[in-house]
Structure formats: C-alpha cells, structure tokens
Amino acid sequence: MPGGMSIPEQDRDDVLLRRAAKGDEESFTALYRRHQAALYRFALRMTGNAWAAEEIVQDVFMTLMREPKKYDSDRGPVGAFLYGIARNRVMKHLERLPRELPLEETNDDGTRASEIAVNSFTPANWAEQQERSARVHAAVLDLPAEFREAVVLCELEELSYEEAAQRSGCPIGTIRSRLHRGRALLMAKLEILRDAPRRVSAATRR
C-alpha cells in the first residue's frame, strides 16, 4: 500500500474493518484483496512452503473475522496488525517444522515439492532461474528464524531497516546485526552448496 497516497475515507482499512465486523462482505473482501499478496509472499518466503503460506494467510483472515475488535488503531495500521498475526503464525509453523518435515514430499534436488516458482521465461532461463532460486531458497530456509526474517524483510521484501524493525518489533540496530549475520550465514551456505568453500566469515561464528 503506497504510504503517501491519500485514501478516501470509505476505503481506509480501519473503515473497511469496521464495516466487515458488522457483516459487510464487500468490505471484508476488499480488505483481503488489499493485503493477501504481501502476507502470502512473506509467509511463503519464510516457510518455503506454499501450503503453509496459504494456511497462514487463511488463518490471519479467520482471526480478523472472528475477533475484529482485537485490532487497536492506536497501535498501528491494519496492515501491521495483520502482519503481526502472520508473523506469529509463521514462527509457530517454524517451531513445529521438524516434526512436519518427514511428511513433506521432496524433489530430486532436495527442495520441497510444494515450493512454488512462478515466472516463466525461455525454458533455459526458466530452468536456470529455478535452480538458482531453489538453491538460495533452501539456504534461506536453513537460516535461524530471526536471521531469516531479517533477510526476507530486507532482501526479499525490500523494506528499509526502519520498516523491517517496525514489523519485527525490535530496534533498528538489532535488524542490522541480524541481517549482517544472516547474510554471512547465507553466503557460507551458498558456498557449501556450490562446493566452493571460501573464507568463512567471522560473522557466521557465534
């Protein structure tokens, strides 16, 4: 949602939410359509699992449907509220993950069958990009949750440090250091995946 644009009163998120709470289906649908993609991408990039991302988005909006009064406008916009719910669900999912992993189907290259890739270019490009993104996604998914979140927010969602800090509910300095260590870990993992070990950064050592 562009921050600088002025939105008509009747289309504001909080107004839509209020109307949805009274049973206005159109307002609920508008709210869903406005936020679903960003939430889904975040969940997908964090979990690497399309089914999980779908479930998380559904869960977020079910919560909104069941308990619209949980939203407090004094604590921020509706988008941030939804993101907060999504983040909690993602973290819960990641905590459960080790138990769920054996149930996942995997491809020959070790990536999960439910991982999605969207764009299609020429077959060669597509295959190359698929391979690269699958490799990097596997490396991102291997990162500890807090580093992964920093990498996803700053590198994939392209948020500023300030925005990422707001979303994660931590200071900017924390985001910076998490991102730094996340990048270092990511590089080390990618080096290993490429069978070309180089200097292991001091940042990867805890």
Binding site: A37, L44, V118, N119, Q129, S133, H137, E155, R199
Partner: protein, 217 residues
C-alpha cells in the same frame, strides 16, 4: 579499513542500499577490497548471493494466495454473519412471543376480573368517581307500562311509558345522592352511600325508569 569493518560496509556497498552508506566509506571499502583478496572474495561471494536472492525475489514477486482461499473465507464470512443474523432474529422472535403471551394473559385476567366485578361501583352523575368498569347491560325485552309496574321500575320525571319500548336495563353503581339528579327524593344523611341501581335506558340513551335491585324481587 579493517576486514571486520569491510564485512559490515562492503556488503552494504554491494547491496541494494548503497545510499545508506556514506560515500567516503564506500570508497574506503572499495580500496580495501582492491588490497585484500579475502575481502574481495567475500564481496564477490555476496554479489553471487545477491544475484541468487534476486532470482528468488523474482520468482516469488507475483506470488498470491490461491483464489480458493478467498472463496473459502468469503463463504465462511457469509455463514458466520448469516448465523448471527438468524440467531438475532430468533432471539427477537422469542422475546416478541413471550411479550405477546404475557399481554394475552394480562388481558385475559383483566377480562375475567371484569366479568366477576360486573355491577361494581361505577360513576354516575354529579361527578361521583369510581374505578369500576362500564355498567352491565342486563337482558330485557320490550317494556310496557304494565311490565314496568310489575318489575318495580319507577318512571323518571319527564319520561312517558311509551318511551320505554325497546329499552334496556342497565345496572350501575352510584352514590345515593346521584338519584336526586334523576329527580328522585334522597335521604340527606345517606347521600354518600354506594348503591346498585337498575336503569331502564331508552333508545335515545337516556334513563327512562329506575329501580333499586332490592325492590326487584
């Protein structure tokens, strides 16, 4: 610049947020990378990683929740709010029904009480006040003079015997003093006594004759 500093700055420099690092630091990082093969390799490695991240970003840039999720949510929303409306309507109907039942019972009770207290004190003339219900109309056939006498009715002053044809007997409660308004003599000492009186009311709605019930039999 030291290698540790380069790790923090050099990666930023090669990243998407070049503007966040001051220009002189960027230059210093570039100079360090030119001299330090390890840091140069690190930078190259990060650039590779960045490319990979970019590819991942591209593949998921247009990712959206499948349409079925919206359909499920909208369906659930409809069910939830329809159920709430139905529940509200049911509660409203139950309350309305209960209120109607109470009203019906009240009216029935009032009617039965009314029936029981028929002939109770009612207001009659001279501003006499009473909470009693309306006077009861007793069944009666057409009257003539002979019947009047037989039934102990006293013709009121100014009334003619032929005017009592098709009249009705109405039993009312009134204070004895009100009889004077009908032109009858009243004992001064008993004017405030409540008595029951049968009035013979003509078709014009005016009393034509009167009797005291104790005189009837």
């Amino acid at each position: 610049m030291k290698c540790e500093e380069f790790e923090a700055i050099g990666l930023e420099r090669s990243g998407v947020r070049m503007s966040e690092v001051e220009a002189d630091l960027q230059d210093a990082a570039a100079a360090h990378a030119a001299q330090c093969p390890g840091c140069a390799a690190l930078q190259e490695s990060w650039q590779q990683a960045r490319l990979a991240l970019q590819a991942l970003r591209e593949t998921t840039r247009d990712a959206e929740t499948p349409r079925r999720v919206e359909m499920q949510l909208v369906h659930e929303f409809g069910l939830r709010h329809r159920a709430r409306k139905t529940r509200t309507a049911a509660i409203f109907a139950a309350w309305a029904l209960a209120t109607a039942a109470v009203l019906f019972a009240g009216v029935s009770w009032w009617n039965s009480r009314l029936t029981q207290t028929q002939g109770g004190p009612v207001s009659a003339g001279n501003g006499a006040k009473s909470n009693a219900p309306a006077p009861a109309v007793l069944p009666g056939d057409a009257f003539d003079e002979a019947t009047l006498v037989a039934d102990n009715f006293t013709l009121l002053p100014g009334s003619l015997p032929q005017e009592v044809d098709d009249s009705a007997i109405v039993r009312v409660g009134m204070q004895r003093g009100a009889l004077s308004a009908l032109g009858l003599p009243v004992d001064e000492e008993r004017v405030s006594d409540w008595i029951q009186v049968d009035l013979l009311v003509g078709q014009d709605g005016l009393p034509k004759a009167v009797r005291l019930p104790e005189q009837a039999n």
